[in-house]
Symmetry: C2
Subunit: 278 residues, 2 copies
């Protein structure tokens, strides 16, 4: 690929641009975004030039959609007519089923590879972009079938993912959405619920009567609804199932607060905590 | 006070010893603990010598109980006969009502000042002790009445709390236990529940398909049940109330996942998150 089009030059898109350049990509990177986001991305050297969507897509061997989920879905509906036949379209959306369905309806079969880099940080925007954002982090790919992974365009994309040290995991879009309902969406909603419960039950000064653990527990509660509204809208079934499981567990814990069963629950939780934090 | 007795020389007790010394305390610090804990505390300079409980208490102007809650309750029942009439007994237990009730039954009125330093770290033991552990952290005191704060022994203790930069907050034992049910016990149980839900619903490899936020959300899930069994046993009412509030909130969130009400919940959570992490 000689030209890459990054559509949406926020934290993810701009970080992908920086990561590619750091890994030795010497082609051109076109950015498609709002004027403010383009300016930041140019300032940080994450893109080489700005272009309208149609023009950037028409020039690109790789089209990287790094917008919010609802915008990715809109963009997929528009780009078909401009796409080069050898180009690969991929994305960085946090849910996969709805996006992949949209691609199946709107793009030639096999030209879209759904993806979700499980990377990020608290602050948003190209000014926070980081060439190392994907290093050592899972990068889920949801191909339509095993054959898609063998196409020339996907093989080249995989080569670059290796070069930026992303840890590729391959699964179906459905499997992805089920897993992240537990590993990402449930933790977010538990942290949001904790914060909302504190707001409801305590005076503002009472929240300060807390140990250092509370700040960790409330970190995700700081996430922007702007991002989450799309995640909640595009993965309701798995999220409801995950919430039901957690509510059942909480009710069980409440009923057995002082029984040895709670000791066993802590032991299981200790193991998961140690594993997830290695 | 010329001699301090620290009963229980784990992370909290040993850190208090180091903090006192760093703040200029030039008396002697006696340690009462298991042989292994005493050895670690001596190695780290957190105490000056080891002594049996009766002897340490008989010599001390300040008796600092930094054992697990159930052991503090046992110790309070034993020390009355050995206590100097001018000595102050205080503690570092994470719940206050049961400990203060025990003190009312077993010690002369006004000689015990319930306390809870909201400080700590993930690792335990005197080898992790830190003279700066209390600096800038809330240090709750639960006096029996306002008059107790004016006694000479309490005034001297307050002077040392100021010297180690602890942020003193005064409230009743009941108020303390209600507040920490939300700011400490609920976050712990939500993190434990998250971990147990992941263990139940996901294959071990699937837990790795997660972003950096999951590690934060699972940090508290790594806490030792050994510590928590006493907390859950001595604060069941407020914890059940806090769990009920969180369960109701979660159910509400589940029923309104894609309504604007969830947007409002995120906004409230954003505010609490920002406040708690300042």
């Amino acid at each position: 690929m000689e030209t890459v089009a990054i559509v949406g030059t926020g934290l993810m898109g701009a970080s992908f641009g920086l990561a590619l350049k750091k890994a030795g990509f010497d082609g051109k990177i076109a950015g498609v975004s709002s004027p403010a986001a383009i300016e930041e991305a140019l300032d940080h050297g994450a893109i080489d030039f700005a272009a309208p969507l149609e023009e950037a897509v028409a020039a690109a061997g790789l089209v990287y959609l790094a917008q919010p989920i609802s915008r990715i879905i809109e963009t997929i509906a528009k780009i078909g007519p401009f796409l080069r036949p050898d180009a690969l379209v991929t994305d960085a959306g946090s849910t996969k089923v709805r996006i992949c369905e949209q691609a199946l309806r709107n793009l030639p079969l096999g030209q879209f590879l759904g993806a979700h880099p499980l990377a990020g940080k608290e602050k948003r925007g190209a000014r926070e972009a980081d060439a190392g954002l994907f290093a050592g982090r899972p990068y889920v790919l949801t191909p339509v079938d095993a054959g898609q992974m063998e196409t020339a365009a996907v093989r080249e994309f995989l080569k670059w993912l290796g070069a930026i040290d992303a840890r590729v995991a391959i699964m179906s879009a459905e499997e992805h959405d089920r897993v992240v309902a537990y590993t990402s969406h449930l933790p977010q909603l538990l942290s949001t619920t904790l914060a909302a419960t504190l707001a409801e039950r305590l005076a503002p000064g009472e929240v300060r009567i807390s140990g250092p653990g509370l700040a960790d527990a409330l970190r995700l509660a700081g996430s922007a609804y702007e991002i989450w509204v799309d995640i909640l809208a595009t993965n309701p079934g798995p999220i409801e199932t995950a919430l039901d499981a957690a509510i059942a567990r909480l009710q069980e814990l409440r009923s057995n607060l002082n029984s040895s069963q709670t000791g066993r629950t802590f032991e299981i939780a200790n193991e998961v905590s140690a594993r997830a934090r290695r």
